[in-house]
């Protein structure tokens, strides 16, 4: 094992990079230095986080690399971080996507490069910190601090309706998370502990659990987002700059799913049991409804945003099945969606940078001019549909297998959603890529350049890798998920 504080270094390295960037004076010549510094920092963070994975002990279901310091003298709040099978891949996802985001905004962010990179590095710190915290107060602080850089990213570098979108994003998510704050304090009052480890296994009375569950639900359902709390998502996605959408879809949505697994399942099992029908209903409505909405979109980004809500519906079904297949499927689906939707947004970014429009009608016949782009786009599109061999398949397949144990209605709903996802994604692909070029403006559009290849090809490889060797990812998380399921069943058997 490693005897230096690896997790803290990973959390705070981007922040240190941000501090360094703060002191680089910004002008025409030095803005490239700012970008380079940001890229180096995030790459360094990614490499360090790979050490986490390599040194990870697969046979240990609880937290590893733990660090614990007293933080407040009067209450039992600790600076307590660590990694287990569930958070490992969330952290990897964050550290993997951030350098890609910085590369993706290399040329298309022209104003206020310094503030942009500062926001992204700060965002990376809080994302990793949130997934790594074992103390709930620490978790909450990171959870809410995410809003600050995201608000700025949407508001400063976003599209035309960016102000509306950024306010909606901020206030919507804040409303959910302040209720969680009250729930956290109630939990602390009942147990005098803020440790996630401790609270998983020390349960509250049934009625308390119900209220706590609703408070956490308010926060995570907005974040993930579940129908009908999803309305902030299309706005935020459409208005955010490409890299903003990537992080939003790739990591921030996973905070909701992660929260459901940790808090709702882990700490409030009896209440979860009570609310499972609600979650299933909302998820199926989300899958079917948002898939149909996605079908009707004329804006590519909006279409992908709605497809995110549908995919997250599969995730919530998987989580609340509370069996091994369901949870593994949900985790796989989250990782897969993190890669695929991020890649899709990057693909949209590629053509948006060239044509400055996201209207589907504007495009058509891109394969004639951009064969390489068409290929990469296809991989991600099929990943989103869930074709066997891609990452999307593993997650959806596992969730559906798990759902058979629960109820065949859920299976029908989920399967129907998957069919619909094929419909809207293939239809989108057909309209953008196939056919002949009818729009003259597209006549001399260029294929993806080296920088874009560097961004998209690692993503394509990991999507396929995830589809072919899912065990590479499932093995580390298996025991941690089993632990949660065992605790859940013990609590509900009483």
């Amino acid at each position: 094992m490693i005897d230096w504080p690896l997790v803290s270094v990973i959390i705070f390295l981007p922040l240190i990079g941000a501090l360094i960037i703060l002191f680089i004076k910004e002008d025409e010549l030095t803005s490239i230095n700012i970008k380079r510094a940001a890229l180096l920092t995030t790459l360094g963070t990614f490499i360090l986080s790979l050490i986490l994975w390599l040194q990870f002990d697969y046979s240990n279901p609880s937290y590893q690399y733990e660090e614990k310091f007293r933080w407040f003298d009067d209450f039992n709040f600790f600076y307590h971080v660590g990694v287990d099978g569930i958070s490992l891949f969330m952290i990897l996802l964050s550290t993997f996507l951030t350098p890609l985001c910085i590369l993706a905004s290399w040329n298309n962010i022209k104003k206020r490069v310094k503030e942009y990179m500062l926001s992204f590095l700060f965002l990376e710190t809080v994302m990793i910190g949130m997934f790594a915290s074992i103390d709930i107060l620490l978790f909450y602080i990171f959870f809410e601090a995410v809003l600050i850089p995201m608000y700025l990213i949407i508001g400063i570098w976003g599209g035309n309706r960016r102000i509306y979108a950024s306010f909606k994003f901020f206030l919507y998510t804040l409303l959910g998370s302040v209720l969680m704050l009250i729930a956290i304090i109630v939990m602390y009052r009942n147990t005098s502990s803020m440790s996630i480890e401790f609270l998983q296994g020390n349960y509250f009375s049934y009625n308390t659990q119900l209220f706590l569950w609703l408070a956490f639900f308010a926060s995570f359902a907005v974040k993930i987002p579940m129908w009908p709390f999803h309305t902030w998502l299309p706005d935020a996605h459409v208005e955010a700059p490409t890299a903003g959408s990537v992080i939003l879809a790739g990591v921030l949505l996973k905070m909701g799913g992660y929260g459901f697994i940790r808090f709702s399942l882990g700490m409030l099992p009896e209440a979860t049991e009570f609310f499972i029908p609600l979650i299933m209903t909302l998820s199926i409505v989300a899958i079917v409804y948002t898939s149909l909405v996605a079908l009707a979109q004329t804006d590519i980004k909006k279409l992908i945003a709605y497809s995110s809500v549908a995919h997250m519906g599969i995730v919530t079904i998987g989580i609340f099945l509370v069996n091994q297949q369901g949870l593994e499927g949900a985790m796989m689906q989250m990782i897969s969606h993190g890669l695929v939707s991020a890649a899709l947004f990057l693909c949209v970014g590629v053509i948006y940078d060239r044509m400055h429009t996201r209207e589907i009608e504007f495009y058509g016949g891109l394969v004639q001019r951009m064969p390489l782009y068409a290929t990469v786009f296809m991989i991600f599109m099929l990943g989103s549909v869930g074709l066997p061999g891609t990452s999307g398949f593993v997650g959806e397949f596992l969730v559906i297998i798990g759902a058979f144990k629960f109820s065949s209605y859920v299976v029908i709903g989920a399967a129907f959603g998957i069919i619909l996802s094929a419909v809207y994604m293939l239809y989108l692909y057909k309209r953008i890529i196939f056919g002949t070029i009818t729009n003259n403006k597209l006549a001399d559009i260029l294929d993806i350049n080296t920088r874009e290849k560097i961004i998209l090809i690692p993503l394509a490889i990991s999507v396929i890798l995830l589809g072919i060797f899912p065990n590479l990812f499932l093995d580390p998380m298996r025991l941690s998920l089993e632990l949660i399921i065992t605790n859940y069943e013990i609590a509900n058997a009483k």
Binding site: W71, F72, D73, D74, F75, R112, K114, E115, Y140, I141, E144, A145, L147, I148, Y151, L152, G155, I156, R162, I163, S166, F167, F170, L171, L174, L175, V178, L179, L181, I182, I185, V186, Y188, R189
Partner: protein, 478 residues
Amino acid sequence: MLNNIYNIFFIPEIFLACSSLVCLLFGLFLKKNAFRQTSNLAVFVLLLTIFLVYYDSESNFANYKSLFSHSSFINFFKILALLGSIASIIISKDYFLGIKLKNFEIPVLFLFSTLGMMLMIASNNLMSMYLAIELQSLSLYVAAAIKRDSISSAESGVKYFILGALSSGILLYGFSLIYGFTGSMNFDDISFYLSKYDNLNLGLIFGLVFVMVGLAFKVSAVPFHMWTPDVYEGAPNSITGFFAIVPKIAAVALIYRFCLIPFENFYLEWSQIILFLSIASMFLGAIAAIAQSNIKRLLAYSSIGHIGYILIALVAANDDGIKAASIYMFSYMIMNVAIFAILLSLKVKNEYLINISDLKGLSKSNPIVSLAISIIMLSMAGIPPFIGFFGKFYVLIAAIEQELYVLSVLGVLASVISAFYYLRIIKIIYFDESISEGIINFKISFQSKIILSLSLFLIICFIFYPSLLINISANLTI
């Protein structure tokens, strides 16, 4: 105990009173630079007073026990008020020179007002409480109207005076009722007398309500807040800064002590009033601030909202509540010092900033200042990881300890609403495109810069070592 007559001069309040008079004479006999010199002397005097308050813990008012009391809570708030007035005198110096308002009386008025606040915080007797309130208010009435040739300043002074006098009258009437029914002016005696009864009689309830109304005026809790936005708007910016930073500290300490000492056994009676004041202040502060275009009015409503939060901790009425109040008050003071240090140095087209929309494009010309304002706004909105969050967090802990679930949910809902207008300022700074460059001018003196950097440092870095403040506030006894 006081061993000899010289020790009297080392009692902080007496020292401050004498030194204020010395300052007055000092300013009077100076031929030039009177304002600047007097301000410097005033800061020095206040620093010495902090030192005395900190060390002089035993002999303090030993001979005046029936009039003034002494506890760690009182000392904490005294030091807070003194720090606040030091900061506001320093940050406002350049502003006064900038608008050519060089009366040396201003720092002296601040000194007298601070003296009144120290007495207010320590008072243990209805009569001394009333006199202390009057001492601080009278100085503030004059300060609000100090810019004699400005109509708005005069108006704000008169408004403040009339409403303040009205509230003092109500307060005094309440005192007379309490005195009439309990036969004592002393907090401890009243408490002892009341401990024999299970219920308050009608007269005492009337007295209590009247006193609460008067105190609500002083802390500007809704529905007795009407004067606040107008006075804030009319008074010169630096006086507004003083209003926002210091008197609230004293008034909050006073309302805590009044509720928790004489009437500690009648929680139900006063907590209903405070509960209403708290909810109304939070929501009105949050909603009314949305429509404001004047930064001073916005900060006025923001301070009303903050008072609502502090009153939640009072409704909780437990040790955590006292701790929460002291942490919240500290964070409130720090944030207001920081924002006023910036506002008093920002000039738009050679005029000091008034309209929020004038901040447009600040992020281009002054990136550091924009970042600072954004951090302060986020902190005021209670977004972690800044200090404002911990203030709210401790208030919620206190409320939930007392099982005030509904109140805490209402509190966080109000904080979401109020987040909107704080975010609006960030939006204007960062999101709106500026029309022309270079009209915003930020010039800050070295001393103010130190104050500003120090308060920003505390806002940002509190999270790394919270125990420093929390250990102090955890041991406060009322």
